[in-house]
């Protein structure tokens, strides 16, 4: 099985990356003292963790788009839902340390709510939060996907209604009355499992857990696409009608990978929120979801590794440009969209493959 997933060279590269995440970063952050040029700051750790969360989302996107041919422009919704689910738990963990010194989140106090709404029941339990992180995006994806795939909504129409879905959800979450903090969202987290959140140790722990999840996602994806299931999926992407006439019920194949992708995004969201320290409905904005597609496209669709590289490149460029030339960042991003779709349909990974052949 190990040989089926990747060749020996790829395993070595993977092992090196794992070493960077599990050994190099922790040492450079926790052991090496602050003045040292090799020291990795807390800022660097959280930035790295954030980008790794995005990478998980990009791999999830690749599963549905690169391998099943479904372009979703609403994946940010699942990411945000996972983030909100875990965020509820984090808000409960603030206990009475908020502005009002009551065992209720601040936004509920200023809305004059005396008790928790129904969707906050059990939110103080960690395991329930973990369950919600998986269940809520999964369930929404299941219902939406079932009806959409059953009616054979595909292509551009599907992409547009995923936009509508995430936009409607964003409007819903922006309402203060919905009970998710409205425009302010959730912020000012203090603890996870009663352990304070802002210590370097906790930050590093979150970082390494994210890294481990990323590697696990990659391996899981690779396992899926190299199996028979993956073959059928690729066939569906290329010629669905033919696959159906061969007797396969494509609905369940598409639905499975769609729900899996949503769950992975939810998990990524849950890891993102404690590292970034805030979740707010603009994570569900249509623009964010479209950006996910471009990370995948830049790296190379249908390769699983490509999206990881693409995410790193695009987000790295964003971090640099919004400091150095903030007025030009949108031009660069727009150009990336155009050039990649025009000239690099296989992304950076495809480019590398072509060079190697040449």
């Amino acid at each position: 099985m190990i040989s089926r997933l990747y060749g020996p060279k790829a395993w070595i590269v993977l092992a090196c990356c794992a070493a960077v995440v599990f050994v190099v970063f922790p040492v450079l952050n926790l052991v090496v003292p602050e003045g040292n040029p090799l020291h990795v700051t807390a800022f660097g750790v959280t930035l790295g963790g954030k980008i790794m969360c995005y990478m998980i989302v990009a791999v999830a996107m690749d599963l549905v788009w690169g391998y099943a041919g479904i372009l979703s422009l609403g994946h940010g919704l699942f990411f945000a839902l996972g983030g909100y689910a875990f965020g509820m738990y984090l808000m409960r963990q603030i206990h009475a340390d908020g502005q009002y010194h009551v065992d209720m989140p601040d936004f509920m106090v200023f809305l004059d709510w005396k008790s928790f709404p129904w969707h906050w029941t059990w939110s103080e339990h960690f395991l329930w939060a973990v369950f919600l992180v998986v269940a809520v995006p999964g369930l929404l994806a299941f219902v939406f996907g079932y009806f959409a795939f059953r009616s054979r909504v595909k292509g551009v129409y599907f992409s547009i209604i995923t936009q509508a879905l995430t936009y409607a959800a964003m409007l819903l979450f922006f309402r203060n009355a919905t009970g998710f903090g409205g425009n302010n969202g959730f912020t000012d987290f203090k603890r996870i499992l009663e352990v304070p959140i802002t210590t370097p140790q906790m930050r590093m722990a979150l970082f390494t857990i994210t890294g481990a999840t990323l590697i696990a996602t990659l391996l899981l994806g690779r396992f899926l696409v190299t199996s028979k299931f993956g073959r059928v999926l690729a066939a569906i992407r290329d010629a669905e009608a033919r696959v159906m006439s061969c007797g396969y019920d494509t609905l369940w194949y598409k639905l499975f990978v769609w729900v899996l992708s949503a769950v992975l995004c939810g998990i990524a969201g849950a890891l993102y929120v404690p590292q970034v320290g805030i979740i707010n409905p603009s994570e569900m904005s249509p623009a964010n979801s479209i950006e996910i597609a471009i990370w995948t496209a830049v790296g190379g669709r249908g390769t699983l590794v490509g999206p990881i590289i693409g995410t790193g490149l695009v987000n790295g460029a964003k971090s640099v440009f919004t400091v150095a030339w903030p007025e030009y960042w949108l031009y660069v991003l727009g150009l990336i969209f155009i050039l990649v779709t025009l000239f690099l349909p296989d992304g950076v990974v495809g480019l590398a493959k072509r060079w190697r052949k040449a």
Binding site: F110, F174, N183, G185, T198, I278, N280, T322, P326, E327
Partner: protein, 425 residues
């Protein structure tokens, strides 16, 4: 021989000339952060604050800098993205090692950077009017709290000169500032004997642009027998379609006056103001105020906009948050010079009681304890040219009450930052 002497003399004189130049080039520099959105939905409001901050830094540097240090601005663009605000704030403090940050506009951006500033013991100056209910040791709030804006405005509306309103429509965008302000106002109105039946509370989402139904509802509500006034906390560019619809549907200020808290000269830039004459705004500063400090400041801004070829240079406007930015930067400079240090805790201590002659015509004071400015309140009516006529003002600056007495539970709050922060490590 002569040539050698000549060349040596030349080299020596060159060195003598270079030396002071080299010394000046190594003059002391202090880095200061500017954290305002330059792209995205909030760019409309925040770009002017970034430019005002840069102008103030130039002004201070021209007079010798802060304690002899030249101010070097580090401008970052968090792009109206709230998590990016927190990230950029952390970057400014830990990577760029700035001494102070001037920034934020929306409450959510401030709330997302607050944990960063408290954790890293940074210093933030926040220049926008907001809903109160916050008091952090690491933040100085140079904008108005509700009792310096909302409450005086409603009192004016209830007064004879303001129309003697007895019914109120509380109309806002759905987020924390209007929600909290309306909560405070409702409690205030109850205290003045106005019942819930005479209060209508309505919220629209961000970016809402079709106000036909809302205006129809206001008309209906206003026809129930008593004089009605509208208190608008509609945010940002939703104000333009709101006022256009108001004007087109013939809802005159003499019938139903509308007072707004987020509408200033800048927001009216995009609106035909002739049908809006008589509608009101409440601020701590108006561009049309006539006093020598304001005249000089406006002139300085117009010249700066022209010199830097800013897109708004053909019609330069100044508004309340710009004035608050200007005041905040100057007070920071004064505090640094009083504390003789850039260290955050020393500057925080030295900020107490700082005063500054502000363009609003008063000498503004920073409260000794509660990190807010004492600000005068002006009520202005819209003029046909988009400026404001001041129709009422407080006799002097008003002290801020960040914990509004109209919200239950606030009586237990202290009027200063919590000294013992919960253990974080």
């Amino acid at each position: 021989m002569n040539r050698r002497i000549f060349v040596n003399a030349l080299a020596l004189s060159a060195a003598l000339v270079m030396a002071p130049a080299a010394a000046w080039a190594e003059a002391k520099v202090v880095k200061v952060g500017v954290l305002h959105s330059l792209s995205g939905t909030m760019a409309i409001s925040e770009t002017a604050l970034k430019d005002m901050a840069l102008m103030t830094f130039d002004e201070i540097n021209a007079k010798g800098g802060v304690m002899g240090y030249k101010i070097e601005a580090v401008v970052v663009d968090p792009a109206s993205n709230w998590p990016l605000f927190a990230e950029k704030a952390r970057q400014l403090i830990t990577q760029d090692k700035v001494a102070v940050v001037f920034g934020c506009w929306t409450s959510v951006s401030r709330k997302s950077v607050l944990p960063v500033f408290e954790e890293l013991n940074g210093l933030l100056f926040y220049p926008v009017q907001y809903e109160g209910e916050e008091l952090s040791k690491n933040v100085f709030y140079t904008g108005a709290a509700p009792n310096q804006q909302a409450i005086p405005a409603v009192e004016y509306l209830m007064s004879k000169d303001g129309g003697g309103a007895k019914r109120f429509v509380l109309l806002g965008t759905d987020y924390v500032y209007p929600r909290t302000t309306n909560k405070i106002l409702r409690a205030f109105l109850h205290s003045k004997g106005i019942t819930d039946a005479d209060i209508m509370e309505e919220y629209t989402p961000f970016g809402h642009s079709d106000y036909q139904t809302i205006i129809a509802k206001i008309k209906k509500f206003a026809s129930e027998g008593k004089k009605t006034a509208v208190v608008s906390t509609i945010n940002g560019d939703s104000n333009v379609p709101f006022y256009k619809e108001l004007g087109n549907q013939g809802l005159k200020a003499t019938d139903v006056p509308v007072v707004a808290f987020s509408v200033g000269e800048e927001e009216l830039r995009g609106v035909d103001t002739k049908p809006l004459v008589g509608h009101l705004a409440a601020w701590n500063y108006f561009m049309s105020l006539k006093n020598p400090v304001n005249d000089a400041w406006k002139k300085e801004w117009a010249a700066y906009a022209k010199a830097k070829k800013l897109p708004t240079a053909d019609k330069p406007l100044t508004n309340d948050p710009m004035e608050a930015t200007y005041i905040g930067i100057h007070m920071w400079k004064q505090a640094v010079e009083k504390a003789k240090s850039f260290d955050t805790d020393k500057v925080i201590a030295a900020m107490a009681g700082q005063s500054f002659k502000a363009p609003d015509g008063f000498t503004i004071k920073m409260d000794e304890k509660n990190h807010h400015l004492h600000k005068p309140v002006f009520i202005g009516e819209v003029k046909a040219d988009g400026q404001f006529n001041v129709v009422w003002k407080t006799p002097g600056p008003v002290r801020a009450q960040p914990w509004s007495p109209f919200i239950p539970g606030n009586d237990k709050k202290k009027d200063e930052p919590e000294t013992a922060a919960p253990a974080k490590k």
